[in-house]
Structure formats: structure tokens, C-alpha cells
Symmetry: C2
Subunit: 198 residues, 2 copies
């Protein structure tokens, strides 16, 4: 006999659907919800519907925002001649943490992947091309350095260059603070290839 009430099981199932959550953890989460006050549980539920309703894509760069245009695109302190193209919103956060980059972004929301049936029309490529007015001087392609990220960068680079805009690719190399011993061969090769005069 299943001894948990149906509404409890339903909640456990929802939690078990979250990425990286197994059945036992999901049950602990459901117990946590029961331990909350009515107001706290309500606030949790509202946070879900709120985020889902409010969060949309910036009309310009496609990054997540809850206004029409995101704070970065709307800022007059950013260099509008450079656009850094990334695959995910979390990549924007990563670059912003460096506090070094002052240009704009473009979030593709994915990479081209024939194996997963994701083509150029399934990611925000046309939205990028639509942004390329004469004020844009450089497109930095900052997709991941794996096969799909590489192919996506090459694809976009070809289209952008046809429109007469310079494209660059982020550098491969040994991570700062790491050491040569643990770097894999491909990274080492790329680090050597990308060497600069100092």
C-alpha cells in the first residue's frame, strides 16, 4: 500500500523531473515544502509562474530579461561596435564576471547540431544578422571550443564576413592557474599554435 497522499506523490514527481534530481532527493524536497509555512510555499509557487511569465528574450541580443530590452543593450556605457556571440545566457554571466568586456552580446540559445536535429534556423542566427548595421565593426565568436561550438562559429563567421564585418574567435590555450602536465594534447597544440610574442 502506497502510504503517501496523492498530492504529495504528484509534487515528488515534479521535483524528480528537475535536472539532476533522483527520487529520494525529490521526496526530501517535497517534505521540505510541507515544512514551509503556507505563505512560504505560496511564494515558491509564485516564483515559478512569475519567472515563466516575466522572463523573455531581449528584443536585440536575445539574452534573458524581464523588460523589452536587457540592461546591457539598454546601457549607454557599452561599446556598440563589438558583439560577442555566445550559445547560452550563462555564458554572458561568465564574461560579465571578468569585468573586462565592454561590448554587447548575442545569445544564440543553442548550437548547430545535425545529430540533435538543430539547424541554423533553430538558434538565433537570423536575429544576429539583422543587427549588423554599419556601426558594428567586429563579431567575436565565443561558442564553446567543442565540435558543435566550432561548427556553429564557422557557419556564422562565413555569413557575417559576406556582410563585410570582421569576425574573431576566442583563444584556445592552457587555463590560467593550470599547468602543462594536465592539459590534453589538443589544448596544448592550440596553445602552441596561438603563441604570441612577448
Amino acid at each position: 500500500m502506497n502510504s503517501y497522499p496523492e498530492s504529495f506523490e504528484r509534487l515528488t514527481e515534479k521535483f524528480a523531473g528537475l535536472p539532476g534530481v533522483g527520487r529520494k532527493s525529490a521526496q526530501r524536497m517535497a517534505f521540505y515544502i510541507l515544512s514551509l509555512s503556507d505563505a512560504e510555499a505560496g511564494a515558491f509557487a509564485d516564483a515559478i509562474t512569475d519567472a515563466k511569465r516575466r522572463v523573455k528574450r531581449c528584443r536585440i541580443c536575445q539574452n534573458l530579461t524581464d523588460s523589452e530590452i536587457c540592461p546591457i543593450c539598454g546601457s549607454d556605457k557599452r561599446d556598440k561596435s563589438v558583439i560577442c556571440v555566445v550559445s547560452q545566457p550563462r555564458d554572458v554571466t561568465a564574461f560579465e564576471r571578468t569585468r573586462e568586456y565592454k561590448g554587447l552580446y548575442h545569445v544564440l540559445h543553442g548550437v548547430i547540431s545535425p545529430l540533435k536535429h538543430i539547424g541554423p534556423d533553430d538558434i538565433a542566427v537570423k536575429e544576429l544578422l539583422a543587427r549588423l548595421d554599419p556601426s558594428v565593426e567586429e563579431i567575436i565568436l565565443a561558442t564553446d571550443p567543442d565540435a558543435e561550438g566550432e561548427a556553429t562559429a564557422m557557419y556564422i563567421s562565413r555569413l557575417v564576413k559576406q556582410l563585410g564585418v570582421k569576425t574573431t574567435r576566442i583563444a584556445y590555450g592552457i587555463p590560467v592557474g593550470s599547468n602543462l602536465e594536465v592539459a590534453d594534447d589538443a589544448t596544448l597544440y592550440r596553445a602552441l599554435e596561438g603563441r604570441r610574442e612577448i
Copy 2:
């Protein structure tokens, strides 16, 4: 510059409050919510408020239920002369899985713990005593075999015996499928002490 919208951050914080969830996992969960359809996200939010609103304690055994009396207490197939006392609802599920026990349960919702300022009045002891009519012949104390579970069992046993009802304690011993080599000394001692003629 924080590049995530506020409502997204709020949802991430809620997930980060769940037991065993760190900031990075919480963010992945929030992205998962955004990837759902409006209806699916709404169903998730509803599951939270629903469980919180519907799930209450069975008027008799204090186990979680969404009706007035839980299916076990309401069943006419259960032996109402035996009550197995456990500390948590998940313990009921564990015993039910064995399909061997046919009596009733009583869920204390905790154990007595002076260190955590949890006294007998903070757990469902008086609700247990109120159930002890002449039809009840045995109380099985099935709290955990640790210091607090042991003390709670002893405390309840004393009260119940005063009312003329027999109390028993679940057996300590070597887990089935385990071996003597890995059993700790206390368990081994208890296994020896609890030996039976075969």
C-alpha cells in the same frame, strides 16, 4: 553587472533553498522551468500549493494523508490490536514495502532530543496515548536505533506500560545480506544478545 532578470534570480534562490541543492544546480533548475511550456510550469507551481494545502495528518495515526483518516487506519483488513510507532512518515512506507506487517501505525513526527529542544510535547505522544483503548494489545516501538530513537522508545514504553499495554522493541542485528566483518561492535553485540534458538 548581473545579467539575469530579477524574477529568474528569485526562482533560483527558491530552488537553492531546497535541501541538498547548491547555487549552480538551482540555476539549472530555473533554466529547466523556463524550458517548460506555460501549462507545465503552471502544473509545477500548482503541485506545490496543492500538496501544501491538501496534505494533513491523519486524525488517528498522524501519518500524512489528504483525507480525514488515512487509507491504513480506514482499512478493515488491518489488525487494530497492534500499533507500530515510528518517527517519520517515510518509516511507514519502509514497513509497508515489506508487505509483512498488517497492524496499524503511529507517526511521532520526530524524536525526543534535549539538545535540539524537542520534548515529548513537541512530538505526537499524547495522540498515541489517546488511542490506547482496550482493543490495543501491543505497541511496537520502531524508532531508529540511535541515542534519540532509543530514549524516545524508552520514554513511550514507560507511559504505555502504565496503561497496561504490552510494548516491544524492533530487533537489532546484522542486516540481511550483510556480513559480520563489516558490522560495527555495538551491532554485533546486540545481534549476539538477541540470538534465538533455531
